[in-house]
């Protein structure tokens, strides 16, 4: 991996002698080349391996494993489960994404209080094993089609609310998700922005998160990605697993329906 990094650095230096707009183009290309090199060994795989072990490990006050956790395809069925989330669950009578559903399982099966998980911070404490489990679960849907048709009335409702929230402006910079993600071919600084209001862009977005984020050197779940979006939008803090996060996830996943799960992904 170190030789790949050196090769990428050399490639970037060589490109500096090329005219201005061409440098901007080839810088983006070099970044993609660098990512492709890394994808050969996506660091997210380390999280996946850890998550696979944690899935069968007895944990929490009830000292139980998550092997009976129902992610929508039946107790303990992990393969393909992430591809059909978020979805309606009859036992909780609500639409849930992967992380809120995992909280349900952790509470009911392992005795880990949901409130404690919500209170924790990303990458720390109770969230840390959970994030590895997320990497494992989404990896078990890699290559499968996204299956979020939103047939249940509550799913339809969440899609509709998610769409309105997507366009809802707020805060001192007037930002909504749409400020950045409703147009083709835009970027912030050098970061390309998928158009999440169209199928192709939604599939690119939804199908590639959660992901290992190189710039942070850590694995980011979708909840963390949404949280940091709202931070950058200068909005207040979206509570972990709250309805706003599920509604937006539902909107994106439904828009991405039929696209490909490339999770866990690899991001800058």
């Amino acid at each position: 991996m170190k030789s790949h990094l050196i090769a990428a650095a050399v490639a970037l230096t060589v490109s500096a002698s090329v005219p201005m707009y061409a440098v901007a183009q080839s810088a983006a290309e070099q970044l993609q080349e660098y990512r492709d090199m890394l994808a050969d060994g996506n660091p997210a795989e380390l999280y996946e391996m850890e998550g696979e072990e944690l899935w069968v490990k007895p944990m929490g006050p009830k000292s139980a494993s998550l092997e009976q956790c129902d992610l929508g395809l039946g107790a303990g069925v992990v393969q393909g489960a992430a591809a059909q989330l978020p979805r309606y669950f009859a036992d909780t009578d609500k639409v849930q994404d992967l992380e809120s559903r995992l909280m349900t399982c952790m509470e009911n099966i392992q005795g880990i209080a949901q409130a404690d998980v919500v209170k924790a911070s990303f990458g720390k404490g109770l969230r840390q094993p959970m994030e590895a489990i997320v990497a494992y679960v989404v990896g078990q849907s890699k290559g499968m089609p996204i299956q979020v048709p939103a047939t249940h009335p509550k799913e339809k409702e969440m899609v509709a609310i998610g769409e309105k929230i997507f366009f809802l402006q707020g805060g001192p910079m007037d930002f909504s998700c749409a400020s950045c993600h409703a147009v083709d071919g835009q970027r912030i600084r050098m970061q390309d922005l998928p158009n999440l209001t169209e199928h192709e862009g939604a599939a690119a977005g939804w199908g590639n998160w959660p992901a290992y984020r190189v710039s942070n050197g850590t694995f980011w779940t979708m909840q963390r990605r949404l949280n940091d979006c709202y931070r950058q939008q200068r909005m207040p803090f979206p509570v972990f697993g709250s309805d706003v996060t599920v509604a937006l996830s539902m909107y994106m996943a439904n828009k991405a329906n039929g696209g490909e799960m490339n999770t866990p992904g690899l991001k800058r």
């Binding site: 402006q169 707020g170 930002f175 950058q232 909005m235 709250s242 706003v244 996060t245 509604a247």
Partner: protein, 208 residues
């Protein structure tokens, strides 16, 4: 931003203003606001009441309403009001220091829940705009500003227009993506003068 009571009274105020201009007021879907209220909390300097849209935000959050005859009337009313509310520099001097302006353009700091009260905000200009030729790490959400002053000159009209745009871009295009730098105290008067110089000073790298 505004708390719930102010939000409701702003809606009422908007209703009065709107009715006087022959335009009905706008409410956000209560089911949507219920989700927002149950989902967010204050963190650091990011107060929970930032979730409540002001009139401009409400208008620009609903494309169908914006495109309706009522919405278009409201757009003109709000745009006019925005332009009228802009104040010229307190000392009449529009131009600051372009070097400081370029630093501001590079900085995306400020107003997030990780920022502190009293720390200087940036203008985040490079997030969306090309500004100088040398900086290739720029966004494409806004138009390129390369050669801004060179192309337009330094007439009184251009100076005032540019000042107004930086203060409140929505005075010219109510649903402009650009944050309202003065309206929300994102930039101070001096900082805006520095950005003016970045764009209009003949010595600025923007105009080489």
């Amino acid at each position: 931003m505004k708390n719930k009571m102010t939000y409701l009274s702003t809606l009422a105020g908007a209703a009065l203003l709107a009715t006087s201009m022959g335009v009905s007021s706008q409410t956000i879907d209560p089911a949507v606001m219920a989700v927002m209220e149950s989902s967010f909390r204050t963190q650091g300097i990011a107060d929970k009441d930032r979730i409540y849209p002001d009139e401009v935000q409400a208008l620009c959050s609903d494309r169908a309403f914006f495109n309706s005859p009522e919405g278009q009337k409201k757009a003109i009313a709000l745009q006019t009001a925005a332009l009228e509310a802009i104040e010229p520099p307190s000392d009449g001097v529009y131009m600051g220091d372009w070097k400081a302006g370029d630093k501001l353009a590079q900085s995306g700091r400020g107003l997030t829940w990780r920022d502190n009260v009293g720390s200087a905000n940036g203008g985040s200009c490079y997030n969306c705009h090309q500004v100088t030729e040398a900086e290739i790490s720029h966004g494409t959400i806004g138009p390129s500003l390369l050669g801004y002053g060179k192309l337009r000159g330094n007439s009184k009209e251009i100076i005032e227009y540019t000042w107004n745009r930086i203060n409140n871009s929505k005075a010219y295009n109510i649903c402009s993506n650009m944050p309202r730098m003065a309206h929300f105290d994102i930039l101070t008067e001096q900082q805006m003068k520095d950005v003016m110089a970045l764009l209009l000073d003949p010595a600025s790298p923007v105009n080489q």
